[in-house]
């Protein structure tokens, strides 16, 4: 008798909880993985393709699935890598991340024909000008995607490193001198 009542009550309980789970799954369903959206919003969104994925959305999906490291986005640098790692709860070793060399496109005024091709492809509208007039790059808006360099017929658009000025100069990280010299010495011994 006891056995029977135990079987019945547990079965009922199981059925009831199963039902609850079923309902919850139906009504509280998550439409798409929100983490992908969040990741995409972190990425630059310039669809530059430097990561090897066709755009920022596929890159975000790869990150969410764990198929790409947090340090995958070269334009984002270590700042972005830290944000991604924080979002995904990853351990991050930044010592291997190379800070991207900051580049900016510049128009060589002597060879520009004013063909307007470059400012048509610029994803951030960083190139200004009008047909038959020399174009110019707004350095603050340029994201160094190099699309303009590819379409320029006269090669007058070139990427240049961002000029170091008193405003943007920063103290360098101290090199760990002892480790370095020690390594050098041991190499000499070996």
């Amino acid at each position: 008798m006891y056995v029977l009542s135990a079987i019945v009550s547990l079965t009922l309980l199981g059925l009831f909880l199963g039902l609850l789970l079923g309902i919850a799954a139906k009504y509280l369903k998550v439409e798409s993985s929100p983490i992908v959206d969040e990741l995409e919003s972190l990425l630059p969104g310039s669809q530059c393709g430097q990561c090897g994925f066709p755009g920022c959305r596929p890159a975000a999906e790869a990150l969410a699935e764990g198929n790409a490291p947090a340090t995958m986005c070269p334009p984002g640098g270590s700042a972005l890598a830290e944000q991604i790692a924080a979002l995904l709860g990853l351990d991050l070793d930044l010592s291997e991340v190379k800070e991207p060399e900051l580049l900016v496109a510049r128009v060589s005024e002597s060879t520009c024909t004013g063909c307007t091709r470059c400012f048509k492809v610029c994803p951030t509208d960083a190139i200004v000008g009008a047909p038959k007039q020399i174009h110019a790059v707004v350095a603050d808006a340029c994201i160094a995607c190099k699309k303009c360099v590819e379409v320029c017929p006269t090669e007058c658009l070139q990427m240049h490193p961002v000029e170091v000025t008193l405003r943007n100069w920063r103290w360098a990280k101290p090199l760990n001198v002892s480790a370095q010299t020690a390594d050098a010495r041991s190499n000499a011994v070996c």
Binding site: G76, A79, S95, T124, I143, V164, L166, K173, P174, S178
Partner: protein, 495 residues
């Protein structure tokens, strides 16, 4: 017994070898020859750079305005001597990198022809606002090294009801003795400047604080202030960084400036003795700030001394005046050896912030052979801000900048005590400067990436709009064509 529980008024700090005696006993040199060319940077202060008002080739008189201030926080620049403007262009800045800075080049004519000045006989007839205006027009900035425009500080003082004006005569950096000499030789003028500042800020009392390793300066200042009850000259213990404004405020008033606040918010303002002297000159004699006293010292200097130098003088001229053996120089430092920065060469101009130029030999420099940290906690005990430099540096080394900020990176004042005391020669201050710069850079990068996203969205929306427009045009064209054909058909039908 109660005193044991009272908050200690000095915290941390170090006592470095002073090296002040060689220069502090000599009078300020008066025979420094006027340089042939002066290189006057347009930004010698905190805030916006000044904007030139002169043209190349123009002849200027001593004291004439060369560039006016721009915006609320800025300071004008004046001609330190009479002569002709040779150039307005980019020249190396007195900065560790010697990167270019916009500079006016003045070729002096040696005549020292003054422009018309307007001395004031009784400045106490002026309104306090007028004092601020005149101080601002004279291009006076904080000469202790912070170079914050003094007029702005006077105005803030008036707005905030200051109880105490502290005059910083601590000069706690080793080697430097320019303020010491200034106080010994020009005490009356400094005290007059203090009175003018008190009047300009509508403040009742002032305290002149001088480290007790400068007894001569103390006596001179005390004598000069004797007849003014509102000015109190005191001696303070010799301990670097006593001249850190917040340390001095705590020592003199017992009050601590909360993080993120200006000292004026707790009723205290602090100015340097050199600034007080400049205020005296500007108000009493109508002379703008054209020169300052600079200590030239260090092991490579044969005749170390204090010199009154017009702004824009190249360091190499100071070196040849003081007899510097360039082969012995291991490092040139602008400012003191604790907080000053290295300079790559001597072809750089002196500016309003230059309190000293040091040419140090290798034996004077700290050993740079870095060893592992042994957690001796020396840096913790000397930090005047109450930080734990070793933990901060360890986190920065592995790029955990957020943790470093949690530990108080933003409260670091780069005073250098930790680097000074470190037995393992770890460049702690450079770690902190690097991290602070990196944090700013990352914020800017983040800002730019947000900006980029906005631009891309705007462009996509525009493209979409154009495409939509084209589709509509196309539809309209098709519709029009259909209409025309219908009409045509109708007409044909009619015919």
């Amino acid at each position: 017994m109660l005193s044991l529980f009272k908050k200690s008024r000095i915290r941390g700090g170090v006592h470095a070898e002073e090296h002040k005696a060689e220069t502090a006993t000599l009078p300020i040199a008066s025979n420094f020859p006027l340089p042939k060319k002066l290189y006057i940077p347009l930004q010698q202060h905190v805030g916006k750079p000044a904007e030139p008002v002169i043209k190349v080739g123009e002849k200027v008189l001593k004291g004439q305005l060369l560039a006016h201030s721009q915006g609320l926080i800025s300071a004008p620049v004046h001609a330190p001597s009479s002569g002709v403007i040779l150039d307005v262009n980019d020249y190396p800045a007195p900065h560790p990198t010697a990167l270019p800075i916009r500079t006016i080049v003045l070729e002096t004519d040696g005549k020292e022809e003054w422009m018309a000045v307007h001395p004031v006989d009784d400045p106490f007839q002026l309104t306090p606002e007028d004092i601020s205006l005149r101080v601002g027009a004279a291009g006076i900035v904080g000469l202790g090294g912070a170079t914050f425009p003094t007029a702005v500080k006077l105005n803030m003082g008036r707005e905030n009801h200051i109880d105490t004006l502290i005059i910083n005569g601590a000069e706690c950096e080793p080697y430097l003795s320019c303020d010491d000499r200034l106080m010994q030789e020009r005490a009356e003028m400094i005290i007059d400047g203090v009175r003018l500042m008190l009047y300009g800020m509508e403040t009742e009392s002032a305290v002149v604080a001088i480290e007790d390793n400068k007894p001569q300066a103390f006596l001179a200042m005390q004598a000069a202030a004797e007849s003014f009850a509102q000015i109190n000259v005191i001696q303070i213990p010799t301990r670097y960084p006593m001249g850190w404004d917040r340390q001095l405020i705590r020592f003199v008033t017992g009050k601590e400036v909360p993080v993120g606040c200006r000292s004026s918010e707790i009723g205290v303002t602090i100015h340097n003795v050199g600034t007080a002297f400049a205020v005296h000159n500007a108000i009493r004699h109508g002379q703008p700030l054209l020169s300052r006293v600079i200590t030239v010292a260090g092991g490579a200097v044969q005749r170390p001394t204090n010199i009154e130098v017009p702004f824009g003088t190249l360091i190499s001229e100071l070196f040849s005046f003081c007899g510097v053996n360039t082969e012995n120089i291991a490092r040139i430092i602008m400012g003191g050896p604790m907080m000053g920065d290295s300079l790559p060469h001597s072809g750089l101009p002196t500016v309003k912030a230059t309190s000293g130029i040091l040419a140090l030999t290798q034996s004077e420099l700290k050993n740079t052979e870095e060893q592992p940290c042994i957690r001796c906690a020396g840096c913790v005990s000397v930090c005047p801000a109450g930080l734990r430099p070793l933990d901060m540096a360890n986190n920065i080394r592995i790029n955990q900048l957020d943790t470093a900020v949690d530990l108080g990176l933003k409260d670091c004042i780069s005073c250098g005590c930790c680097s000074y005391i470190c037995p393992s020669n770890i460049p702690l201050v450079q770690y902190f400067k690097y991290a602070s710069g990196e944090i700013v850079a990352r914020q800017q990068a983040q800002h730019k990436s947000e900006q980029t996203k906005r631009l891309i969205d705007a462009r996509n929306a525009r493209m979409e709009r154009i495409a939509q427009q084209q589709r509509e045009d196309e539809l309209a064209r098709i519709a029009a064509k259909a209409e025309r054909e219908r009409l045509k058909a109708e007409q044909e039908a009619l015919v």
